[in-house]
């Protein structure tokens, strides 16, 4: 791999690194796992970079490779032991005197999202990233109608988790 390619890649990734951090935030729930996944996505992005032709935006392409890595390539089974997240731990402490503040609601929401499976998380992630259904369908490789249907199901599932 030549230096110029390396340089352009690292520079682009440095600029758009928040996307990767956000993927990590949804798919992991502690500091070490976050860093591990960040590194794995970085490696996969770098491997795929020679194939990136610039016909998509770099950030759009990052969403795809990042999500695919989180969904499929990353070995996280051993890290699943004892991975109570920040959100969750904070939630437990304060849940005793629960009040209906926005803060509390957010913690519950993040906790609920963490209970979704990898694919559902991907849908929520793209939704949170303000992607429209066309973009979601392109990133996930499914039809627009399908994306809409799936998203509605995920919403229902979230509601069930929040109000059992």
């Amino acid at each position: 791999m030549n230096k110029e390619l390396e340089h352009s890649f690292v520079e682009l990734l440095e600029k758009h690194q928040n996307i990767v951090h956000k993927v990590c935030r949804l798919y992991t729930n502690n500091y070490d796992a976050h860093n591990d996944l960040f590194q794995e996505i970085t490696i996969q992005l770098w491997k795929a970079y020679p194939k990136f032709r610039g016909d998509a935006k770099f950030s759009t392409w990052m969403y795809r490779v990042g999500l695919n890595t989180a969904i499929t390539l990353y070995r996280k089974s051993k890290r699943r032991v004892n991975t109570q997240g920040f959100d969750e731990i904070q939630f437990k402490i304060s849940a005793e005197d629960y009040d209906d503040t926005e803060e509390q609601q957010l913690k519950l929401l993040y906790k609920a999202v963490h209970q979704l499976n990898d694919i559902e998380k991907a849908l929520v992630f793209l939704y949170l990233e303000d992607k429209n259904y066309k973009e979601i369908s392109e990133t996930m490789g499914i039809s627009e109608v399908n994306a809409r249907v799936k998203m509605n199901r995920v919403k229902t599932k979230l509601r069930t988790i929040l109000n059992p």
């Binding site: 690292v10 440095e14 794995e40 970085t42 795929a48 499929t72 390539l73 609601q105 499976n117 694919i119």
Partner: protein, 213 residues
């Protein structure tokens, strides 16, 4: 859904909360090793190959090997070994190719196809090893029954007593039993090693599949 809107608001205002990695930190990352599932399938298949090769070297000077040598089976054994090595090397190539392909996939659809391919390769690989074991055992058994002097004299003695069928039956049954045990051990080994690695791939494949319907 109001809740998701609330989450979205929070999600997007959190931009500054994430760690900010420097150019150098990211640069160091791309030099590091990957920990992906498919890469481990490739590495484990290589380790397994090294393990069996070492075993065959260790066994080279033992009595069992001398017995085999004594059978003069080399004209069968050598081509068989060469063929199986060629096939194994082809499998490593496939595992490596799967790894390279999956590592740089950018569409979920293609990812699914590649997961399927990886799964199929592992299945064929396990199948090949088991079939090679069964064929090898039967060829050896056949050879022992036909050409081993020890065996021939036993058969002669048995035929004098009218027990030829019995002695063949015993040999074949014992071999089948041993073979079944070996196949069982191998299956358990593959199930443990590759089964666990493939579990997550399979689970997410099913989820991806659901999206397709």
């Amino acid at each position: 859904m109001d809740e998701l809107e609330l989450l979205k608001k929070d999600w997007n205002k959190n931009g500054s909360k994430y760690p900010k990695l420097s150019y150098d930190e990211i640069y160091k990352m791309i030099l590091k090793k990957s920990s992906s599932i498919v890469k481990w399938i490739f590495i484990i298949s290589l380790l397994e190959f090294v393990f069996w090769t070492l075993i065959s070297f260790v066994l080279k000077d033992t009595k069992m090997f001398e017995d085999v040598e004594h059978l003069n089976m080399n004209h069968i054994l050598i081509p068989m070994t060469i063929i199986s090595y060629i096939i194994l090397i082809y499998f490593f190539y496939l595992f490596y190719k799967n790894y390279r392909n999956i590592a740089s996939t950018d569409s979920t659809k293609r990812l699914m196809e590649n997961i399927l391919k990886t799964r199929r390769t592992v299945k064929y690989y396990v199948g090949f090893n088991l079939i090679a074991l069964v064929i090898g055992t039967f060829i050896s058994l056949f050879y022992v029954l036909k050409h081993d002097e020890n065996m021939l004299s036993q058969v002669q003695q048995a035929s004098a007593n009218g027990e030829v069928f019995k002695i063949y039956a015993i040999y074949i049954l014992v071999t089948l039993l041993l073979l079944a045990i070996m196949v069982g051990i191998l299956l358990l080994f593959y199930w443990l090693v590759y089964g666990i690695l493939l579990k997550r791939l399979n689970k997410n494949y099913r989820e991806l599949k659901k999206l397709e319907v």
